[in-house]
Amino acid sequence: MRPKQRNRLILAIVIVLFVAISAVLALTALQENINLFYSPTMIANGEAPQGRLFRAGGMVSDGSVQRDPESLEISFKLNDEVNEILVKYTGILPDLFREGQGIVVQGKLAPDGAVMATEVLAKHDENYMPPEVEHALETAKKMGVANAGKE
C-alpha cells in the first residue's frame, strides 16, 4: 500500500471511530428521551410527567378489561409483571387489542394515578406462526399444566 493510500485508509477509520464514539455519547445522554413509553414500574416510581401527555406501555392484565355496554368507554390494567396501572379510554381499539397483548397508550396521568388515554396502540411480538401451530402449543401448555397439577 502506498503512503497516500494508507493515509486515506487511516482517515476513513478515524472518521468511523470518531462518529461512532460521538453517537454513543449522544445516545447515552438522550437515553431517557428516546424511549417511546414509560413502563408501569417507572410510573409507579413517579418518573412519568404530571399534567402533560406521555406514553405508557405494558401487557394488558388478564381479566382486567371492562367495557361499558352503553358507550365506547373501556378500562383495563397494564402490567410489566411487577407493577400495574389502570388505563381509561374512550374510542376504537386496534385489531390486536386483547388480554395479554403488549399495548402502548398515550394520555395524561389523573390525580388518582390512572392514565386517561387519548390513543391506544397495539404492539405485536416478533413471533410468526400458523394458527395450527399456535393451537398445538396452547394444547401442549394446558396438558403440561394439567399434568403438573396431578403430580
Binding site: 500500500m1 493510500q5 486515506r8 485508509l9 476513513a12 472518521i15 468511523v16 462518529v19 461512532a20 453517537a23 445516545l27 437515553q31 428516546i34 424511549n35 417511546l36 413509553f37 413502563s39 406501555g57 381499539l93 386496534p94 385489531d95 390486536l96 402502548v104 390513543e119 391506544v120 396502540l121 397495539a122 404492539k123 405485536h124 411480538d125 416478533e126 413471533n127 410468526y128 406462526m129 400458523p130 394458527p131 395450527e132 401451530v133 399456535e134 393451537h135
Partner: protein, 251 residues
Amino acid sequence: MSIIPNWLYQLSSPKNFYRFAGIASNWCGWIALFLLVVGLYYGLVNSPPDYQQGDSARIMYIHVPAAWMSMFVYMVMAGSAAVGMIWRIKASSAFANASAPVGAMFTALALATGMLWGKPMWGTYWVWDARLTSELILLFLYLGYMALQSAIDDRDTAARATAILALVGMVNITIIHYSVEWWNTLHQGATVTKLDKPSIHLSMLIPLLVMAMAFKFYYLSNALRRARCELLERERDKLWVRELVGENNSE
C-alpha cells in the same frame, strides 16, 4: 506489496468492469425475476396466515426483505465508496453511486409497507419511535448522498465527499439494528437476525428468505447496470469507450 488479489485488480479497471457488469447484471436480473415469482407465490398463496395477525402479516414478505436491503445496500455502498476513495478505483465509486438510488428505493418501500402494516395492527401509520425514526434518517442519508454527489462537478472531489458522508452514516445502521433492543419501541424485536433460533415458523421463513435473495439479485442487477452507465459517461474520452462505440457503429 499489494493486499488486492490480481484478478480483482484487473476487474477494477473500468473497461473490464464494464464488460463483467454487463454479463453479471443480466444473469442477476433473470435470477431475481425467478426468485421473485417463486417467493411471491409461496409468500402470498402457499404459506399459512399468522396466528395473531391473520393474512395481514403477509405484507412482511415485502416489508422485511426491503428493510434488510435498505441496510445491506447502505453497507455495500459505504464500503464501496470507501474503497473508491482510498484506492482511487473509479469502478468502485461508480458502484457506490449506483447503489444509492436502489437503496433509497428499498428504504422508501420498507417505510411505505411498514406504514400500511402499522395502521391495522398497531392502530397508527406512524409513531416516532427509535426504529421508525432511524429508518427515516436512513432515507435522508441516501437522498443526501445523491444530492452531494450531483452537486459537485469534479468527480474525484465528489467521490471523496460522498465517501465521507457514507462512512459517517454507517453509525445509523448499527442504531437501526439495535434500536428495538436499546429502547422501548412500538416496533417489535428482531425475528430472524438474532443469535437465537428465528422465532418464525419454517413455512413462513422460507418464502421470506427467497424474497430476500430475490431483492439482493435485483439490487445487483440494477446497480451494476447503473454503474455501467456512469463509467461510460466518465470515460467517454478514453480509447476503450471510443472503440466500443466505433464497433457498434460499424456493425
